[in-house]
Symmetry: D2
Subunit: 156 residues, 4 copies
Amino acid sequence: MFEKCITLLNDRGVTLYDIADCVMYLQAKYHPEITVEEVLEVIHSVISKREVQHAIITGVSLDMMAEQNTLCDKDLQDILIDDYSLYGIDEVLAYGICNLYGSIALTNYGYIDKVKPGIIEKLNEHIEGTCNTFLDDIVGAIAASAASKIAHNHSN
Amino acid sequence: MFEKCITLLNDRGVTLYDIADCVMYLQAKYHPEITVEEVLEVIHSVISKREVQHAIITGVSLDMMAEQNTLCDKDLQDILIDDYSLYGIDEVLAYGICNLYGSIALTNYGYIDKVKPGIIEKLNEHIEGTCNTFLDDIVGAIAASAASKIAHNHSN
Amino acid sequence: MFEKCITLLNDRGVTLYDIADCVMYLQAKYHPEITVEEVLEVIHSVISKREVQHAIITGVSLDMMAEQNTLCDKDLQDILIDDYSLYGIDEVLAYGICNLYGSIALTNYGYIDKVKPGIIEKLNEHIEGTCNTFLDDIVGAIAASAASKIAHNHSN
Amino acid sequence: MFEKCITLLNDRGVTLYDIADCVMYLQAKYHPEITVEEVLEVIHSVISKREVQHAIITGVSLDMMAEQNTLCDKDLQDILIDDYSLYGIDEVLAYGICNLYGSIALTNYGYIDKVKPGIIEKLNEHIEGTCNTFLDDIVGAIAASAASKIAHNHSN
């Protein structure tokens, strides 16, 4: 399932390096000494969690079916394609990930979701025919969780 | 959107009276004087919330597409049709509802999800060809939220 | 209890206008037409909730006892006076507030907690002999919740 | 900090064996083959988490100060001594623990909080002069989290 999730993310335009960039962005002022290798390792451990994998598969499937116009519900189709700002189920899924990594992960996520660094901005470009309503929040949640884990690891 | 959600629930075999029964079950020992009319009114107010409506539409759509075998992902299809016990996204959506009604709602939900009174048991029968993986949790969350609101209303 | 909470906040250096400033900061780019009067009304409704009042009383009491050095536990005393960055119970209480207002409130809170506008920055100055470990998070959570309620009210 | 938390729990009348009994109660029908030794090991790993330790120290301190009548706020004193049913900050702290272990932990906690097996019932006896308003929820949350971890470990 881990490999499948990495492939899904790649197919949707997100590499683990993109996520690592977001983690570096969140951690830069606290732990400037951290290497990309260490960050990638932590991202791996986050995506190894069953609950994270289920969030990826569920969210990305909803995005893909919205793109393919194969969702069974017309209202849901419109909401996802438009990335309707008051639809919060994408954030609910993201919080399901962050909660596993404690309160620092939640705060990081709220921040990254507003500031939209790197890949998260790119996923929010709303290009005609594409839908990343869930993906941007999932990527943000994985990055926020990895940054939280690093904060806990690098203290004593 | 409210009417649509009521219709969706009915189409999937759940009436507001079924949900009211669950609320009565949760509240019986604390507020035996409560009438079905009052309970129905509270259930209406819960389903009037935008975040609850979005959870209903998203969860029920996933159940329906699993039944129709039209989900774009084979693993997700298998997980939902089997109601795989370690898949927790259905509970994550349910918590997205309960959180809006505070800690009593969360506790009520955890209880009802284990004891499975009335309609929730029925939705869990796993009849061949049907899928209610999300629906039973959503119904439990609505009932738990309504019971929490009643507890707060009936105190001083 | 409502009046008591307002007094507690004032005694700790926080007026409802300070909180309104934070809400305006969060909402400025989405709803520039909103008046301070409307924002104050929404803040009132947030602080009217029993769960919010309990969070205020509990958090502020912990801050005050840390200042007075009357906490029964020496480690807790040190953690609160130092505002130890990996102590997350203050954020846990804040999330207990935000959860009542949905996913937008959580995202707003994560953002405000990092950016620290106005009164939140001031509460974070860590002046010798003062402790606002819980207060800054509670104020941020009330502002984030009010902003979320405004976002939901001002849509259709 | 780990040793301190174990001592705090013991001083308040809770042994790790008491918590293990609650975990066995929750897991009995799913994994009857589990030994007390394995359960104790998982409980150790839960209490090793920094966020869990902070919840224990904060909650137990509030209980102890309520017993000693040394809380700085009279209303908070009354609420904690009476274990006021609509005070939910104890559950908010408990959810702060359970969230780290995913949705199964949350459901387990809601159930155990209602059914109150073993030590949790005992902590709820409300003996004059004692206060366990936070402790029963913290013990329930640790047990629920350990049971969730076991469920995830024992699957494939």
